[in-house]
Symmetry: C2
Subunit: 172 residues, 2 copies
Amino acid sequence: MEKNDRYFMHIAIEEAKKAGAIGEVPIGAVIVLDGEVIAKAHNLREAEQTAIAHAELLAIDIACKETGSWRLDNAVLYVTLEPCAMCSGAIILSRVKKVVYGASDPKGGCAGTFMNLLQDDRFNHQSEVVSGVLKEETGELLTNFFRELRTKKKAEKKKKKAEIEITKINSL
Amino acid sequence: MEKNDRYFMHIAIEEAKKAGAIGEVPIGAVIVLDGEVIAKAHNLREAEQTAIAHAELLAIDIACKETGSWRLDNAVLYVTLEPCAMCSGAIILSRVKKVVYGASDPKGGCAGTFMNLLQDDRFNHQSEVVSGVLKEETGELLTNFFRELRTKKKAEKKKKKAEIEITKINSL
């Protein structure tokens, strides 16, 4: 299999699924240097209860530690969802060469949709950006996750209502 | 001593000095909840060789772990230098109530100087911002650090030049 953008995005999707499997919003990221994966991470905000545990930020931290340098000049970052302001800031600081993302985030994506921090030439670094790689698969992961969440919440609400009814009947 | 903004900024300055003492750019941050310091951190980018080791980001991570929650709704963050894009993003994500900073950063400050991510009402959270607390002290820390760095670099260059001269003379 050719190691192209779709190949590495598939690995990011596998990471995203790991997040989904433990009830986290399914977002995954991979960092590639000279054609090799040097870091993989997925969203761990709920599990770790820390606001900074986004897939991209964790992957950048792993990649820096792996290479022994805070500079990731020749690295490419693959992420299933467009990076937020925090992660875009981390991408700028670590000088990641290229960012490839799947689904766009109109509410907070800072790689061209909501804002374009990654290509603001007033910063001392700009990244190449490729958007929409495996757009459907990466987007569906999120859509399905939130649909299931809503269904679960509805079912819980219904169950609670029924329990209240039973309590009322029993106390008659 | 009254525990006001200047009081907590003094603690952030002590953190910044710890960074300076190990050759890091002297920036320090403190997070306060209900009048008590729950997290202190300083810039560790060079020591840890990771792009994400900014004072504010580290302090947010510590505070989340300390409180057991990624939400820092009632927390106040004190930092000696205006937060960058990454740290401002982390502040938004963790819902920090108020940010108090010392020196402004015209080149990358995202709390009102270069950009104002912290008060962009298109995000789902905005923080109160107080700027310029102990502005002189926090600014001087940075000015002195970079002045010393330039002096050191100049001296090293001079020494190298002299060594080349000696080699030349010896080879005559």
